[in-house]
């Protein structure tokens, strides 16, 4: 067993106990990750069987629950659709664990980029602040956000199921166009790279309509079916939207949304799901609720008050 693998196993073990890695180790793993990701295509070709995971947003104990329900890595192949960070308590631990698993089992786990894997968004929605709290400086945030620029933006399962965080773009209606995008950059405010991370399906309208999110588009059934037909795809699996039941299928069962953060923000009361895609390309939604604290061995957050600077 080489040193690198041994270190990774040690890191994974530590992270599974929800302990953060030292800053120097984060530097090492993000550098290695960039070396690995640079060779991956914008659109990753992957084989079934595979389990597809939607947004997890720093809900670390629910990520551990995913591995209990879906099977541990590398026994199960995984495809994560992005939004690993922001909003939950444990974005640092979540992205650290997934990065280490990717390095340890590169052919068994694929990580795509979500709209939250960006500098601008993580400075607003929690990951930046969490890195500052846990490390006392923004260096770890910098390492991870640089790594985010290397993540692939889409995946295709068995040349039949197109997987992406958000969806379609009017600027890239063919997968070949997505394959030639320059992905090694901060998520721009507009254009194809932005759209595929930000867009949402809308059963109530046709075509592409500018999204109310402030980035991306709402896309209708017509353009979705046309995209599938033109690209010889059977189905789209995407994430990016909270679903009460953990998933939703639209457009005559041609598009699925998967959401993997149960009881989102501690208040939404939603279920979560992962999508198990078998060799026949059948999709099974495995739903689950938030892991009970007693079952997840979740340590109680300490009750010491860390007064934010605003209130000193």
């Amino acid at each position: 067993m080489n040193t690198s693998t041994f270190n990774l196993d040690h890191c994974i073990e530590k992270l599974q106990k929800c302990e953060i890695l030292p800053e120097s180790t984060i530097k090492e793993i993000t550098d290695k990750m960039k070396e690995l990701l640079i060779s991956e295509s914008n659109v990753q070709e992957i084989r079934s069987p595979v389990t597809v995971v939607g947004d997890v947003h720093g809900q670390f104990y629910d990520v551990l629950e995913i591995f209990k329900i879906g099977g541990q890595c590398p026994d199960t192949n995984y495809l994560f659709l992005g939004d690993y960070v922001d909003r939950g308590y444990h974005s640092v631990e979540t992205i650290s664990l997934l990065t280490c698993l990717k390095l340890r089992y590169p052919s068994r786990i694929t990580l795509l980029r979500g709209n939250h894997e960006s500098r601008q968004i993580t400075q607003v929605y929690g990951f930046y602040g969490e890195c500052m709290r846990k490390y006392g400086n923004p260096t770890v945030w910098k390492y991870f956000t640089e790594m985010f620029d290397y993540l692939s933006v889409a995946a295709i399962i068995d040349e039949a199921i197109y997987c992406v965080h958000g969806g379609l773009s009017p600027s890239a209606l063919s997968i070949d166009q997505i394959k030639v995008l320059d992905r090694f950059q901060e998520v721009p405010n507009e254009g194809a790279l932005s759209d595929i991370l930000w867009s949402d399906p809308d059963p109530d309208r046709e075509g592409f309509v500018e999204s109310q999110r402030g980035a991306g588009y709402s896309y209708g059934k017509d353009v979705t079916l046309r995209f599938l037909q033109n690209n010889k795809m059977q189905h789209i699996i995407r994430a990016h939207q909270l679903c009460m039941d953990g998933y939703q299928t639209l457009f005559d069962n041609k598009l699925s949304t998967v959401w993997s953060a149960p009881n989102y923000c501690n208040r939404c009361g939603n279920m979560a799901s992962i999508v198990e895609v078998n060799e026949k390309l059948e999709r099974y939604f495995n739903t689950y609720a938030a892991a009970p604290q007693s079952l997840s061995n979740k340590p109680t957050l300490d009750t010491n008050k860390e007064l934010p600077d605003y209130f000193l």
Binding site: Y89, Y125, G129, D245, T300, E306, L307, F311
Partner: protein, 325 residues
């Protein structure tokens, strides 16, 4: 060179809301979105619009300092009519129950509610305002509609709340509300609005728009924490910042204080210990005084709401609160 820290100001100099002098000839316009990027935000933060908005929020904060909700106020006819109008909107919700069908998140019956309000918003304003102020409805309607959330995304957040504050600011600008109404804007109008939007959130399951999750004060609101902290300055019940973590105190005083009402509401919708589900509020409860919390909340509001592209990109600018890039 070392600088000595200035003592914290407890009173602010107020310049007051500048009322439109000549309403008849004032050109009201439909408010539009202007901000799209970080450069726009920097300009906005230096603008008169931002300064006036902060000044208005601060003025209201100071007006209700040490005053619980039950404070005897002027409660003018204008205030009563606004409260009555908001209660009328609340009845729409009762008449439009959520649809019993599987949903993504956010019940589509909310769109029916929103459309009903849209169909009636002009009439509601005509009923509220004297004829001489009807030309302002084009602006007021936009702010009130957006204060109810987003009908496309079925969500609600701090940006929508901000538009309600702007709606009341516009009513001050056109002279419908006076400086003597400012206590009531918080203690009667805003409290009624809070009840209304919480009802919307509950009944239609609106998604929290752009929430910071566990790193936010609350997934939907911000302003009541500023004004609520001001109410608690020098309160006669010896309610200290740390008291908000004590269930008995919360149950006893939530009807009197906005801040405590927020805590009470959060405790009903979130599971588990307070220090886990509301870490930020728990940490803030370690502050030395309500004055520190009030001042800190204003700074935090500036940073977390007014300075953020994802929120201010949706902010509407018209003639009453104007800004252009």
């Amino acid at each position: 060179m070392a600088t000595t820290q200035q003592p914290e100001a407890t009173e602010h100099q107020h310049f007051g809301v500048v009322e439109i002098k000549d309403l008849e000839n004032h050109k009201f316009i439909k408010p539009v979105k202007v901000v799209t990027n970080e450069d726009d935000i920097k300009k906005f933060l230096r603008s008169g619009a931002c300064r006036d908005l902060l000044e208005y929020i601060q003025t209201l904060s100071d007006k209700i300092k040490s005053k619980p909700n039950s404070t005897k106020t002027q409660n003018s006819n204008e205030i009563k009519n606004i409260v009555s109008m908001l209660n009328e909107i609340s009845v729409y919700i009762d008449n439009i129950p959520p649809l019993a069908q599987p949903m993504r998140y956010g019940n589509k019956a909310y769109r029916t509610f929103y459309q009903k309000l849209l169909d009636n918003v002009e009439e509601l304003h005509k009923h509220l305002l004297p004829q001489s102020m009807h030309s302002s409805i084009i602006e007021l309607s936009s702010y009130l509609m957006d204060a109810m959330g987003n009908q496309t995304r079925l969500d609600y957040g701090t940006g929508h709340e901000l538009h309600f504050v702007v709606w009341t600011y516009c009513l001050r600008r056109i002279g419908f509300l006076k400086s003597t109404d400012e206590e009531d804007i918080v203690l009667n109008v805003f409290t009624t609005y809070l009840d209304l939007v919480r009802k919307l959130q509950r009944v239609y399951g609106l998604e929290p728009a752009g929430t910071h999750g566990v790193w936010s004060l609350d997934d939907y609101q911000f302003i009541p924490f500023i004004w609520g902290a001001s109410q608690l300055i020098g309160n006669p019940f010896d309610i200290k910042p740390a008291s908000v973590t004590i269930e008995k105190v919360v149950d006893q005083y939530y009807k009197e204080y906005l801040y405590i009402a927020c805590i009470k509401y959060i405790n009903t919708v979130k599971k588990g210990p307070f220090h886990e589900h509301s870490r930020d509020l728990f940490n803030i409860s370690g502050a030395a005084s309500w004055q520190k919390i009030n001042t800190g909340m204003m700074k935090k509001f500036y940073d977390d709401v007014l300075s953020k592209v994802p929120i201010i990109q949706h902010f509407l600018f018209g003639s009453l609160i104007s800004f252009s890039v």
